[in-house]
Amino acid sequence: MAEVKLLTFVCNWCSYGGADQAGGLKIEYPSGVRLVKVMCSGRVDPQLILQGFRKGADGVLVLGCHPGDCHYKSGNYSAQKRMLLLEPLLAQFGIESDRFQLNWVSAGEGERFGKVVNEMYNKVAALGPLKLTDSAVKEETA
């Protein structure tokens, strides 16, 4: 399988902790998984995700606290609602919908973190590196 980059947004409270726990448990995952921390998954807007694709991500994963557990009460619900807007944007830029995922990992779920990133990574790897065709996307990359 090809080397790909999976940009993974993690919220400060749950999923960052989940990633730390995966580290503590030495759960292996591909080095192409690259994390960026935000305070809450609610901070991640479609533009940030597109930016990830433009800057070289072959897949983007957004991880937040489980529904009902967001440190800020409802940030992850806002994220979830907003992701509906993302699908048509991805289609517009010719990005397969499988290259994106929103998921939940709690601070105590190191194993789950490993499972989620590995599965997503494999899915993206199977699709291979992303070739952005839309010129608009490329323009903005400049």
């Binding site: 980059k5 940009l7 960052y16 902790g17 990633a19 730390d20 995966a22 580290g23 503590g24 030495k26 759960i27 292996e28 995952y29 591909p30 080095s31 690259r34 994390l35 960026v36 935000v38 305070m39 809450c40 609610g42 901070r43 991640v44 807007d45 533009q47 940030l48 930016q51 990830g52 800057k55 070289g56 991500a57 967001c70 440190h71 800020y72 009460k73 409802s74 940030g75 806002s78 994220a79 907003r82 490993g114």
Partner: protein, 678 residues
């Protein structure tokens, strides 16, 4: 001062160095144009590591720092403190987590090296864009206002005033004490309720730091931690509270008698009255809606009777504005009204038929209740059997109130302390009366009930008619009957004797009872609901004030600075109420320290007034109601006390008007592009 970045690489003994060649990484990073120096250390978080870190910074003119090491969850605060020690801004330090996210989870050394480099470079690019944030402090009020003077309010006020802090209790009714004052004995261990409450009220009376305002309504309340403003309407009492000695001469003289709401319509009171004997403040109050004098009639009886010349009909309602730093909401709850359900025969004749709610029934056990504390039927006779029907309203409310079972068993026990021939039977499905004390209470009810035999034949013959066919009569049940479906238990009444119908294991039964007590669920009180609306507090599904976090912050509301005490959060027994009251007071005390300012979060959002189109989307998504439209300027303004910095508004704003400090688009963009590079 250079804008270049000082980079520290930690080997974390071998945790990092075994996978990543730190010397090589250091050499490579030194070549980056933004980097002033790269220094590596065996164990940067250790005492000698921190000294090394501080020493390196002291001797350099760089202001921005990257620490590539473990998770910031472990040591961000350690290195932030070091930044502070050497006089540098802690927000100009960024950590790259090359241990948890890299060396511990990556199998190939080459891959780990490449990733560690990418993470560190991303941190370098990011920190270049960091702002020198200041940790703001604002003045705040340290006074506490307790709304609701029941036992929860009283206890939180006593604790909150402990360090000499000014506390004000606001109470709607004319006296403090709340629901507990209506009881004689408090479950689970059946202690004398007045004996518990009176000394607490005396402490309030003696405490110069506690100001009590009774007989008042809250007209407006708004604000946030450190800064609340409450507009209170003090209803005219028509009695000079300082002069009144609570002697009851006016009450004797008053010719107007109306039904007493305190006794749920089971007794009457006068137009001028005290709430109950020995109440605090022990001061009469005129109900201006029924007083002859205040409703246009002619009467001067109380004025003439008062030996202290305390009656003062020149009083008018007064408005007072209070400022405080924290609010403790202890406005209690209400009972579900069984009038809504026809199955319990709780109609206009209910009292006459000896069908009561358990709040009403509690008054019959109270020495200052309508029967002077004897549990008797409306005709004055002692009851033979009292049937308690539990879970009334549970289906309609949609939840188990959690506290009614215990109270009902307590009343069952109290009811048997009078006449030797009285027995009880509780109809239940689930029994929420646990713990050591709860179990002991159940056992006591059981023991006592066993000493009673009811000759119910006489009663039974009266209710036979109308029970329908296939109903088996039960004459001597145990103290507690678990029925198939508590929602289907029904009450019928005939010739002054009631019958409770229920089924067990699919079979229908009927039992005669000459008193029926409906154990009603707890629902949010109107006062609480209104205050929650004014403060924009989050509610539970049942409409109670929701805890900010049900496990971790059970006494904090969704608004910082507003604490919750007692059954404003849902049904609670007395000890649970007091626990939450103390937790609330503790929260208020620790958040607001006299002489200290309130430090604000630095990582918050702000809206750019040039870009904002006042679309209100941020207002809708903000979980803390921090974003509000300033109607005069027609822009969104984010309150930096309320904002918690989640950034949801940033992602929502269609105009790109909101920025989240420390997580700006530019900072994240820089991090994203670099983290994906290599």
């Amino acid at each position: 001062m250079t804008d270049k970045v000082g980079v520290f690489l930690c080997k974390c003994s071998d945790n990092i160095a075994a996978r990543v060649d730190i010397e090589q990484l250091s050499a490579e990073l030194k070549l980056e144009e933004d980097v002033a120096f790269v220094k590596s250390h065996e164990l940067l978080c250790a005492g000698h590591g921190q000294e090394f870190f501080e020493e390196a910074l002291k001797n350099s003119d760089i202001s921005r720092v990257v620490v590539a090491a473990c998770s910031p969850k472990d040591h961000e605060s350690t290195f932030q403190k070091c930044m502070n020690h050497v006089g540098k801004n802690k927000f100009l330090m960024q950590m790259a987590n090359i241990r948890e996210q890299c060396t511990w989870v990556t199998s190939e050394n080459d891959n780990a090296y490449a990733k560690a480099k990418a993470l560190t470079r991303a941190a370098i690019r990011r920190v270049k864009l960091h702002e020198q944030l200041v940790e703001k402090e604002i003045d705040c009020h340290t006074e506490v206002v307790v709304i609701g003077g029941g036992i929860a309010g009283v206890e939180s006020a006593l604790l909150a005033s402990g360090d000499g802090r000014k506390v004000t209790i606001l109470e709607k009714s004319p006296s403090l004490g709340g629901m507990v004052t209506k009881l004689e004995e408090a479950a689970p261990n059946m202690e004398c309720a007045p004996c518990m409450v009176s000394p607490r009220l005396s402490l309030i009376d003696e405490n110069d730091n506690i100001n009590v305002i009774t007989n008042c309504d809250i007209e407006e309340i708004a604000g946030y931690l450190g800064n609340f403003e409450i507009k209170v309407k003090k209803r005219a009492r028509m009695v000079d509270a300082d002069a009144c000695i609570g002697c009851d001469e006016c009450i004797q003289a008053c010719p107007v008698e109306v039904s007493s709401a305190y006794d749920y319509g089971m007794s009457s009171r006068k137009a001028v009255d005290v709430l109950f004997p020995g109440c605090f403040p022990n001061c009469a109050v005129v109900d201006t809606s029924v007083c002859l004098k205040t409703t246009g009639g002619e009467c001067n009886a109380c004025v003439e009777a008062c030996p202290m010349e305390a009656m003062d009909f020149s009083q008018t309602d007064e408005i007072e504005v209070l400022r405080c730093g924290a609010v403790i909401l202890s406005t209690g709850a209400e009972q579900f009204d069984p009038v809504e359900l026809s199955q319990y025969a709780f109609d206009a004749n209910a009292l006459e038929n000896d069908i009561y709610t358990y709040s009403q029934f509690a008054r019959l056990t109270s020495n200052h209740g309508p029967t002077g504390g004897s549990v008797v039927k409306q005709n004055g006779e002692a009851p033979k059997r009292i049937a308690f029907v539990h879970c009334v309203g549970r289906e309609q409310l949609g939840y188990c109130s959690g506290s009614c079972c215990e109270a009902a068993f307590g009343l069952g026990l109290a009811a048997m302390s009078g006449d030797e021939t009285t027995s009880v039977v509780h109809f239940v499905s689930d029994v929420m009366c646990g713990g050591e004390l709860g179990s002991m209470l159940l056992e006591r009810v059981n023991q006592k009930n066993r000493t009673r035999t009811v000759d119910s034949d006489a009663m039974w013959s009266k209710v036979m008619s109308g029970l329908g066919s296939g109903v088996q009569e039960i004459t001597q049940p145990s103290f507690m009957v678990r029925v198939d479906n508590i929602n289907e238990v029904s009450v019928t009444t005939d010739n002054g004797v009631s019958a409770v119908r229920y089924s067990v294991a699919g079979k229908s039964y009927g039992i005669a009872a000459d008193m029926v007590v409906l154990v009603t669920g707890t629902q949010p009180s109107k006062t609480s609901t209104e205050l929650m609306r004014m403060l924009d507090l989050a509610a539970t599904r049942g409409g109670f004030a929701a805890a900010d976090h049900p496990i971790l912050r059970p006494a904090s509301s969704s608004l910082d600075g507003v604490f919750l005490a007692g059954s404003v959060m849902g049904g609670k027994n007395i000890s649970e109420s007091i626990i939450s009251a103390k937790a609330s007071a503790g929260g208020a005390l620790s958040k607001l320290v006299p002489g200290r300012k309130l430090s604000l979060k630095s990582i918050v959002a702000y809206a750019d007034e040039e870009l904002c189109s006042a679309c209100e989307l941020c207002v809708q998504v903000c979980p803390y109601s921090a974003a509000k439209i300033d109607v005069n300027r027609n822009i969104s303004v984010i309150n930096e006390v309320l904002c918690q910095g989640c950034g949801t508004c940033v992602a929502t704003c269609p105009s790109g008007a909101v920025t989240a400090r420390h997580f700006t688009d530019a900072q994240l963009d820089a991090e994203i592009s670099e983290v994906l590079h290599g």
